[in-house]
């Protein structure tokens, strides 16, 4: 494979004529000025040297083009423009030596050729939109899909990933390993080492396996110096192949794990990571007015955005000195934004909780160590988004169960030090399958080691 070896010197040689010939042109035009007349002697050798290397570039370039898979259209153009450049440079040299009157025009032509050929060469190695991509207005590369369930898995979810991370080497302009991933038939066809994916079997699909190898591995894709796929993107590809690698299937007809659902949900907003999407409501909400915030702060309520620049908030009442109905009136004014409320160890009372019933977004409510009773719990039924409820060390009892079962989305409930009987817990488990219930009361056995100290053996002194 000597020819391939020589061909790969193309990137080395190709930059020499570009630089030398452009410099020759510069010298040529400069020497027209009286001040720089002296440089005219350098023009001819520069042109000669440039011509020599441009011929060398043509030869190596040709060898490279037949050894590797590149976009044929661009290669064709690049090849002939390259040859034209080499010929023109020789013509320029002769014309200059013969003091041809219109050598200036020829050299201008040469410069134009160098620029166009060079650009084509760049497109071959870096991809066609390499130069213009930063100018195009695609700041958020994630497309917003209004209704992800109706979206086509391949076209709307998978193709953009392949386009962003794979096309540059396995696409229209370059086909490393004789593999193209830009069109369905090419994807199924595979590369020189065979098929890259087996529908329904992501585990035996090279497309997935290569992504999962350690980046230090030679076989890892994309090569470690190229932009890598995110965890979510790999998960999406995995999910696509697992559901049959169809090119027409819509999202709603596929099987989705919770993780995939989260990742998919992120498409509908176009920002934030999957993990955040599953915890933050999808709909946008307006910010809490600063007057309201000041008033809440004055009461001692700590109101913090859930995450930077989010309008959804968490509130903590621990710093409130005198908890009153007024505090809860204020809280109900931020019901659209309130996701988490911590009222543990405060003087909150049952009647206060009724004011919270319009806080429909509430996901987490902590009422540990308060004097609330079943009566208060009853007003939580309306909290349809509540997922985590902590009512440890309260007066809640088994009768409060009906209030809990009314909370449709409840996922975790903490009942340590309440009067829930084991029968009530069993009932609760049955009513809301999958609900995590922690009744606490953990005990640690007293072990011998807890009470006996390890001692040194008697050291014989005599």
């Amino acid at each position: 494979m000597m020819s391939v070896f020589i061909g790969r010197f193309h990137p080395v040689f190709v930059h020499l004529p570009i630089g030398i010939l452009l410099f020759a042109a510069l010298l040529f035009f400069a020497s027209k000025k009286q001040k720089f007349a002296a440089v005219s002697t350098a023009v001819a050798p520069a042109l000669a040297l440039g011509s020599f290397f441009s011929i060398l570039s043509c030869i190596t370039g040709y060898l490279l083009s037949i050894s590797d898979a590149y976009n044929e259209g661009i290669v064709f153009k690049h090849q002939w423009l390259g040859i034209a450049t080499a010929i023109t440079s020789i013509v320029c040299y002769i014309a200059y030596q013969k003091k041809f009157k219109y050598a200036g025009i020829l050299i201008t032509l040469l410069m134009t050729l160098i620029i166009i050929t060079g650009h084509n060469g760049g497109s071959l190695t870096h991809g066609e939109d390499y130069l213009t991509a930063p100018l195009s207005n695609s700041k958020s590369d994630k497309k917003v899909i209004a209704n992800i369930n109706e979206a086509v898995v391949y076209k709307d979810v998978i193709e953009p990933i392949l386009a962003a991370k794979c096309y540059s080497c396995h696409g229209d302009s370059k086909q490393k390993g004789k593999l193209r991933l830009d069109l369905p038939n090419y994807i199924m066809q595979g590369g020189e080492e065979g098929k890259v994916l087996t529908p329904f079997q992501p585990g035996s699909s090279e497309l997935i396996n290569r992504l999962l190898l350690a980046t230090s591995n030679e076989e890892h894709m994309p090569p470690k110096e190229k932009p890598q796929l995110s965890k979510d993107e790999v998960a999406l590809l995995h999910w696509w192949i697992e559901s049959g690698a169809s090119f027409t299937e819509v999202v709603k007809n596929t099987k989705q794990t919770d993780a995939i659902k989260g990742v998919l949900a992120a498409f509908s907003t176009g920002d934030a990571t999957a993990a955040e999407q599953t915890q933050l409501p999808a709909q946008k909400v307006s910010a809490i007015s600063s007057d309201l915030l000041t008033e809440l702060n004055k009461q001692g309520v700590a109101v913090v955005p859930i995450v930077n620049e989010s309008n959804y908030v968490r509130a903590n009442l621990i710093g409130v000195e005198t908890l009153s109905a007024n505090t809860f009136q204020l809280l109900s004014k931020i019901s659209d934004q309130l996701l988490q409320l911590n009222a543990s160890f405060t003087t909150i009372k049952d009647e206060h909780l009724s004011a919270l019933s319009n806080c429909k977004q509430l996901k987490q409510l902590e009422l540990n160590g308060t004097s609330i009773t079943n009566k208060g719990l009853a007003s939580l039924a309306a909290l349809e988004n509540l997922e985590i409820l902590s009512i440890t060390q309260t007066k809640a009892t088994a009768e409060g169960i009906s209030s809990l079962t009314a909370i449709k989305n409840l996922k975790k409930v903490f009942l340590y030090n309440t009067s829930f009987t084991s029968a009530a817990i069993a009932q609760l488990k049955q009513k809301i399958p999958g609900l995590l219930i922690d009744t606490g009361g953990y005990k640690l056995p007293i072990l011998v080691t807890d009470t006996t100290e390890a001692k040194a053996l008697e050291i014989k002194t005599n």
């Binding site: 933050l280 995450v307 540990n368 903490f414 922690d438 953990y442 640690l444 390890a454 001692k455």
Partner: protein
Amino acid sequence: MTQKDLYNQRLVKEAQKAVMQHHTRRHFIKESAMGFGAIALGGLLGGCNTSTSPNFFDATNPLAPKAPPFLGKAKSVIYLHMAGAPSQLEMFSYKPELAKLDGLDCPPSLLNGKKFAFIRGVPKMLGPQASFKQYGESGIWLSENLPHLSTVIDDVAVLQAVTTDQFNHAPAQLLIHTGTPRLGRPSMGSWVTYGLGSENKNLPGFVVLTSGGNNPDAGKSVWGSGFLPSVYQGVQCRSEGDPVLFIKDPAGMDRDIRKASIDAINKVNEESYTEYQDPETLSRISQYELAYKMQISVPGVMDISTEPDYIHEMYGTKPGESCFANNVLLARKLVEKGVRFVQLFDWGWDTHGDSAGNAVDIGLKNKCRKIDRPITALLQDLKQRGLLDETLVVWGSEFGRTPMQENREGKTMPFKGRDHHGEAFSMWMAGGGIKGGTTYGETDEIGYNIVNGKVETFDVQATILNQLGFDHEKFTYESQGRNFRLTDLSGKVIHDIIA
């Protein structure tokens, strides 16, 4: 006029001319051109600055709660540091092969080019001084020294291959808590309170509790605020007597007089601030106010005697005593009340074998006895209160210990001990979005070198920040013209132990 006077006059004139040159129009334009160039260059290179975080410091309310840049799982951290470096080989690192080598001379391959704190010449290998078993569904190996922890091991992620390049206590402690082995950088707790503030305005955001009879070797710098405003430094509380020294008003001074005097001091400070604009003055004002509030809130939260008996039994606490168990219970109480970062240091783990208390088969067992029960109780207690999901518990030390028996100055020690060993040691994390029942990293058959899953101290810090919602590479603070990070220039989040 003498020649000398003339000469002097000329000198003065030349000096004046030189000064004037700086003010001529030409000089102005020349300098401006350079200046504009520099500004333009700065703009072009501005890319370097985009990843820094804004300054969170609000001098009027430095501890106001703040949102993290992304959704973190943990809201608070309890960091348990065993000062002195416990032996991983008698606790978390199961090395049956080492038992077979017990008493043999250490092969030169392990000694060549190595420097030890105390080992000299050729030491003998020392087999594990505790038996191991697998526990929980995860089947993690634990020693008999941790009988209680073994019951909750499925909530714990053990890092088996943590490494440090420091082999003396103080620099190694500084490295893991401040990101550098030298003094002067803010501690982890300071970074966290700076970034997140505190939801309870009546308590400090960063509390430090020590036990074991001594402060850690690196002193208070391991909870210092470095170049961060001093309001973020850890507040050391005592578990015996007054939790904070001089927190009680002296006899004869009632709350109103105290309030009036603090108001008066604050007024003077405010005037000083208007004059000098030093933000530290504002910190001082808010610290006075916090101290005033703490006079009421701290004795309440720091009083463990009000806890029910079954809690005392669970933790093995004895109110009124100064011990690790009491501090662990306090840590739970503080986190429950919204304290952001609770840092516990327990001294006395430096098992060199120079005394029975420092022997890996005697003293170490007793130290384990004193932490095993309270730590297990802490995990279970946090769990039953619904706090474990949002509280990250970290257990660790500054380094580990050698598989060789220490032979200080080449002599045999009176008891079985091990020397300092930074190459590989164990730590663990639990709660706060950590995947329980996992082990990460592996050391060789004798626990001397890392085989895979190496975790640097920076990785531990990066992971802690990640669980709180910070990208450790973007969480910076500008000091002396440079942006600093807790993880300095390293750190990778250990994704394998994150749920």
